[in-house]
């Protein structure tokens, strides 16, 4: 739960930049929330604060009634690029990293790591190092690695942005299945409307930065597997596209105040 959260960055020139101001959001347990916004609107700032990597300048942030003080294993993060993987470890060793840090005995953690590698579809790739795997497979390792830690909340920062369109579609489908199987709450950041509607049970659109906050929240009520050509899917798409479009215009005008309207 986030209440009136604000984040100000101070720049080297001395001018403070307010990235986020007055951000309110409450997530229900087990929901899949997608945070949508134009680039530079502060989506990642919100995620970094929930993860505990950055502290808010003002406001309250709580997880199940307890204030968020720093990074912790109840909130796991899947990063956009592959630079968070440990390239000196195999896929299996990467996945069991969190368990190893906690002192879980080897046989138990091996078993669990195998289980989650199977879940993300990496059976047979256990002994390979990240450098030997494709972009999609590396993101699967990241997902298995956080799932093995059994977090209360999964924070995903545009995890599929660097993948090609086909791989991305497959990964989205599988992520939805994994989410349904594990029941973990997910906060998923993206700038891709299609991706947000395909995944979310609820999605929030942010204003263009600076001093951004939530503009509107939409409940995505689509049952079963989501079909991009479905009329109701397209209805959601049009609605969200309209909201984003306005913000893109605002952001453009702020960047080029004298530009064509």
């Amino acid at each position: 739960m986030l209440r009136g959260v604000e984040k100000t960055f101070s720049s080297r020139q001395g001018a403070d930049y307010v990235a986020v101001r007055g951000f309110y959001l409450e997530l229900a347990r087990g929901e899949f929330f997608c945070l949508l916004g134009t680039s530079g609107c502060g989506k990642t700032t919100i995620l970094n604060m929930i993860a505990g990597f950055e502290k808010p300048t003002a406001g309250v942030m709580e997880l199940e009634g307890k204030p968020i003080a720093g990074p912790g294993r109840d909130r796991s993060v899947v990063f956009q690029g592959d630079d968070s993987l440990y390239d000196w470890l195999t896929a299996l060793e990467n996945v069991e990293f969190g368990l190893r840090m906690r002192g879980v005995p080897k046989t138990t953690r091996r078993e669990q790591a195998h289980h989650y590698l199977d879940l993300v579809g990496l059976t047979g790739q256990e002994a390979k190092h990240p450098s030997e795997l494709s972009g999609g497979m590396k993101q699967r390792i990241q997902i298995a690695r956080v799932l093995a830690n059994e977090p209360k909340m999964l924070l995903m920062d545009e995890p599929f942005a660097a993948l090609d369109a086909q791989t991305r579609a497959v990964m989205q489908e599988e992520l939805r299945k994994i989410w349904q199987a594990t029941g973990t709450s997910v906060l998923f950041i993206t700038h891709d409307i299609d991706e947000a509607i395909s995944l979310a049970t609820r999605l929030g659109v942010m204003y263009a930065g600076p001093a951004s906050r939530l503009k509107e929240v939409v409940d995505v009520e689509l049952e079963g597997a989501r079909n991009r050509t479905d009329d109701r899917f397209l209805g959601y798409y049009r609605r969200v596209y309209g909201m984003i479009r306005e913000e893109v215009e605002v952001a453009r005008r702020r960047e080029r105040p004298d530009g064509p309207r």
Binding site: P71, G72, F97, M101
Partner: protein, 252 residues
């Protein structure tokens, strides 16, 4: 088959080097001051038989290795500390930034005044030649760890100490080994210079004596041996990197 071709091209490279040398010495220069490879190798065999070559190589190598190991053992923790903690880096920066521009060769004079011409001064010089390269590379390695690697470990519940042992250290290994390889080159340069100036034995002393008595063949034997030694040690180093740290650096 690929192996064979690899070694074959190496052999061709070396053979052409000796061929060029031979042609230059016998047909182009034709001077007693530039002996052909044949007579140098013959002289090397003679020096090897009477034991002087082995003794000189052994003492020089011993100096290099002792100093190199001590310098690395000193440099790695300092580099790790400098890379991990900004205050330590700021405190030690003046030392490394100032001293690394004073070459070890320039320190020979001081070393001899302080420690005489014995082993202590050689040890000091090789450590000096090793330590800064290792420190700088190690610190740079720690500093270049991707932030997301650290953040991922934090979010997976690792403590600060665990992050250091299981993330920062292994991520830095390739940089440490690169620093050590560069330091090895420095050590070679330094030990020869030190032995030229002040020593009772070693390859540098052999060079100096040969110059004194105009034993041109002996000079070339020393040069040849230095080149070969450096080449072999670097190969061993690369092989060790591959063997021990292959899993830390998939791109050796």
């Amino acid at each position: 088959m690929r192996r064979l071709r690899e070694y074959g091209s190496y052999a061709i490279g070396f053979a052409s080097l000796f061929l060029l040398w031979h042609v230059a010495a016998v047909y182009l220069v034709q001077s007693a001051l530039f002996p052909p490879p044949g007579s140098v190798i013959a002289r090397a065999v003679a020096l090897f038989r009477d034991g002087t070559l082995v003794a000189n190589v052994a003492i020089s190598l011993q100096r290099i290795l002792t100093g190199f190991v001590c310098g690395s053992l000193l440099g790695i923790p300092i580099g790790l500390a400098m890379g991990s903690f900004a205050p330590i880096r700021r405190i030690l920066d003046p030392y490394t930034e100032f001293l690394r521009f004073i070459p070890a060769v320039a320190m020979i004079t001081v070393a001899v005044i302080w420690f005489g011409i014995g082993e202590t001064s050689k040890l000091f010089l090789i450590i000096y030649a090793t330590v800064f390269v290792v420190v700088l590379n190690t610190a740079a390695g720690v500093a270049s760890i991707a932030r997301n690697k650290i953040r991922a470990a934090q979010a997976l519940g690792a403590t600060r100490f665990q992050i250091f042992c299981h993330v920062a250290l292994p991520a830095t290994v390739p940089y440490i080994l690169t620093g050590m390889r560069l330091a090895m080159t420095n050590s070679f340069v330094t030990i020869v210079a030190a032995e030229l100036v002040a020593a009772n034995n070693g390859l540098g002393k052999m060079l100096w004596d040969a110059r004194l008595y105009m034993l041109v063949d002996d000079i070339f034997v020393a040069l040849l041996v230095l080149g070969l030694l450096g080449f072999v040690i670097d190969r061993i180093f690369r092989w060790c990197i591959f063997l021990f740290a292959g899993r830390y650096s998939p791109v050796v």
